[in-house]
């Protein structure tokens, strides 16, 4: 990566560049008409002995006690930004210095990341626990380019992140060389397709309004990342006297609630239904979302299929019928989708052979209702919006905010006779739920003593060590670990799961888990992550960040030594083409040499154990690691695992 601070430059070139930079900055302080580029030869070289020891110019101002970046920090503080995650970059050096000195490196605190993708990934995980954005500083051009994939994940996942990218807009002020490479005409263009809003403030008052506006937009459902372009000169030059700067008042917008008529009609359909089904995906923005969904499901005694985008519904609730999703879709007469991002993929089966085909799963006449803030934010280029779905009622509204009104409407319509029918219906689901747990436990016994260690065994061993604590599983459970945690563990609190990456970009898991652990730190929660090997290797420097900032995260490696999803894809192609079916490992495995993740962790100051191949050694290793994490330090246990 070609950053100014990292590029190999010999001393002579460095001095030459610095001299030119000083000259450029000095020139900016005088009227344009006074500039005489050719006159430099007549004055003492800026870093010569005479220049260093002579009388300072009466007009040249070399310092300022109040740079513009201080005001930018005031804005961050006013918004309650606790952290800014960043990899250092000179285009935002003014902001960086103001955070650590003017701001006292507290609220926000600067988090040192080894890659911009890690910084944004941390912010992603933090927001899903804390319910508000973390700040991220990004270096001009190259830093934003590094961050792009992680921003896309957060956008697809509808998660707020408050990002600032540095840029030297005024071409006449740029240092020759590197600063030109790190400057851009329209900095946000690169990511405009997958941020909710961006702006380029050209004055500090403008920065104040846009800074507050950006936060408000990011936090308005549907939430999403926002990007402010912070001009380098605006950061570094002095705040003018009597500038009259003030931080505007922030008032967050209430989330959009579903139309009252549509809510009433939805309630009528649900109460009249014989086989209602509730689908929930990115529903529960807050713990209230989970509480509301329990209330609605219990009122109707309707089954819930939790698709896992958020922690929506307790895994062991009798009405949790997630394992039976397609069957229930096929038998339902009314289907209520709550923030379901791939409704078409839920209502249809899709067969991926040489000729792709699909089939509608719903029965004729079934009514489909969607409540989704997703409908309020659509873009064109990136296709994360999934296939168009035919529905009967579509509320472009925040589902969590709409549920209280829907619950009231349902309550008004339930008669004693309907309640009797609902209760009968519910008893059947309770029996099915018990059977599903028994079935999961039986399935977990297969390969119980195998080496490599089965994923079911790994999850059972981990659960035994954390179940009595206040915990969060910060990693995605499907498809990487075959959803074993949701099948075997007892999730009943909103913070116990944070869903997945959103855009399915690999490299999310490690930083997002760390961000979640950081948010959990002040709550005293134990954060665990079942960490995929391929994901960690995108930016393993996140381990150093965890040790440096003492963020207690327990990472249990799901080390199947490959990009296993891709391995299966290549196998599929080889089979389809009738050739080379033993070569799918080429380009898809992480073997030879086998990575020693324990040593990798240890090299960055993280407690590391493994590789563990004997399942009987796993429990004690996890116990030791839990104790390390509970003392406030990160730990990693490398477990060599079965594929899924």
């Amino acid at each position: 990566m070609g950053k100014s601070g990292k590029q190999a430059v010999n001393r002579r070139d460095f001095l030459k560049g610095s001299a030119a930079g000083v000259a450029a900055i000095a020139a900016s302080a005088v009227p344009a008409a006074a500039q005489k580029p050719a006159a430099h030869a007549a004055t003492a070289p800026p870093m010569s002995k005479s220049a260093e020891t002579g009388d300072p110019s009466d007009v040249e101002v070399l310092t300022t006690d109040h740079p513009g970046a201080d005001f930018m920090v005031d804005i961050l503080k006013s918004l309650g930004i606790e952290y800014v995650a960043a990899n250092p970059g000179s285009s935002y050096r003014g902001l960086h210095e103001s955070v650590i000195n003017y701001g006292g490196n507290k609220n926000p605190e600067f988090l040192t990341c080894c890659h911009e993708e890690s910084a944004v990934g941390m912010a992603h995980g933090y927001a899903k626990i804390e319910g508000k954005p973390m700040g991220v500083f990004l270096h001009g051009t190259v830093g934003l380019q590094h961050a792009a994939m992680a921003i896309y994940n957060a956008f697809c996942d509808r998660v707020p992140i408050y990002m600032t990218v540095g840029n030297m807009s005024d071409a006449t002020l740029r240092r020759p060389g590197v600063e030109w490479d790190h400057s851009v005409q329209d900095a946000a263009l690169l990511v405009r397709d997958f941020v909710k809003w961006d702006d380029v403030p050209i004055s500090l008052p403008h920065y104040g309004e846009s800074g507050v506006r950006a936060y408000k937009i990011a936090m308005t459902s549907p939430m999403a990342p926002v990007l402010l372009v912070s001009d380098s000169e605006l950061q570094e030059k002095a705040i003018e006297e009597n500038a009259g700067l003030r931080v505007p008042k922030l008032t967050l917008a209430t989330p959009a609630q579903g139309d009252s008529g549509a809510v009433a009609e939805t309630a009528r359909l649900l109460v009249a239904a014989e086989h209602p089904l509730i689908l929930a995906d990115r529903l529960a923005r807050t713990p209230a979302g989970l509480t509301h969904l329990i209330e609605l499901a219990e009122l109707l005694q309707a089954p819930v299929v939790d698709q896992g985008g958020r922690m929506n519904f307790p895994t062991r609730h009798p009405l949790n019928q997630s394992i039976r999703g397609p069957a229930l879709v096929g038998s339902a007469d009314v289907i209520l989708g709550l923030e379901v991002t791939d409704l078409w993929g839920t209502l249809n089966s899709f067969r991926e052979q040489l000729h792709r085909s699909s089939e509608l799963l719903t029965k004729p006449g079934a009514k489909v209702i969607s409540i989704a803030a997703w409908d309020l934010l659509s873009k064109s280029n990136y296709q994360d919006f999934q296939r168009y779905t035919e529905v009967d009622i579509a509320m472009a509204a925040d589902a969590e905010a709409t549920l209280p009104a829907l619950i009231e409407a349902v309550q008004r319509l339930i008669t004693p006779e309907r309640k009797r029918i609902f209760d009968e219906r519910g008893s059947g689901f309770a029996a099915a739920r018990i059977k599903a747990l028994d079935q999961a436990r039986t399935e977990a016994t297969y390969a119980w003593d195998a080496s490599p260690i089965s994923v079911a065994r790994l999850c059972a061993e981990l659960w035994a060590k954390i179940q009595d604590k206040d915990w969060t599983l910060a990693s995605e459970t499907t498809p990487w670990v075959s959803n074993w945690p949701m099948r075997l563990w007892d999730f009943d609190k909103h913070h116990q799961s944070i869903g997945g990456a959103g855009g399915h970009g690999i490299g999310y898991g490690a930083p997002a888990s760390l961000g979640a652990a950081l948010a959990n730190k002040k709550h005293g929660r134990l954060t665990v992550s079942i960490q995929c090997d391929g994901d960690l290797m995108y930016a393993p420097g996140i381990l150093w960040t965890s040790a440096h900032h003492k963020i207690p995260l327990l990472s249990i490696m799901h080390n199947n030594r490959g990009y296993h999803q891709e391995l299966m894809h290549i196998q599929r192609m080889a089979n389809r083409h009738n050739r080379g079916i033993t070569r799918a490992n080429i380009g898809t495995t992480i073997l030879g040499p086998d990575i020693d993740y324990a040593k990798l962790a240890q090299s960055m100051g993280v407690h590391g154990e493994g590789p563990i191949t004997d399942p009987n050694e796993l429990g004690p290793a996890i116990q030791r690691a839990v104790e390390i994490v509970q003392s406030g330090e990160p730990a990693l246990v490398d477990v060599v695992t079965q594929p899924r």
Partner: protein, 144 residues
């Protein structure tokens, strides 16, 4: 590479997989092998007679691994709800096993006689039959 990864992962999104694979699982008793394979492409190879001779379990274990069956079904054929069902112990009959692998009805990619002989299929089937029964869940404290 990243865009490719996002594309392929997206095709197998958890939500889509949840429906897709649960449907697949509903057919699990028929879906015997998601990724059964032989060795290299052998366009000249002739399929072995479709007789139900007892296979070689030891060779079947080797082929099960080398040809990628384990990728979706696990190295002990234990299966996964999100990639492929459990295959053993107590696999379905060899004729049903062979029929499904040659012309799968679900997501499983087809394995023709060009890449996996009937003899190799029989060996894999023998390996699946040889797998020991697991301990009962009630006897495992971690599962109770």
């Amino acid at each position: 590479m990243r865009s490719e990864k996002m594309r392929t992962i997206s095709e197998n999104s958890p939500r889509r997989q949840q429906s897709r694979h649960a449907v697949l699982y509903a057919m699990a008793i028929f879906v015997v092998a998601l990724l059964m394979a032989g060795s290299q492409a052998r366009p000249q190879a002739k399929p072995a007679p479709a007789e139900d001779a007892k296979g070689n379990a030891e060779n079947g274990k080797r082929v099960f691994t080398s040809s990628g069956c384990y990728e979706c079904h696990g190295r002990e054929a234990q299966g996964s709800r999100y990639s492929g069902p459990r295959l053993g112990p107590d696999p379905i009959s060899l004729p049903a096993f062979r029929a499904y692998i040659r012309a799968p009805k679900g997501q499983m990619p087809p394995y023709t006689g060009k890449v996996l002989t009937d003899a190799e299929l029989a060996d894999i089937h023998a390996f699946l039959e040889s797998l020991p029964a697991p301990p009962a869940a009630k006897t495992i404290p971690l599962l109770n």
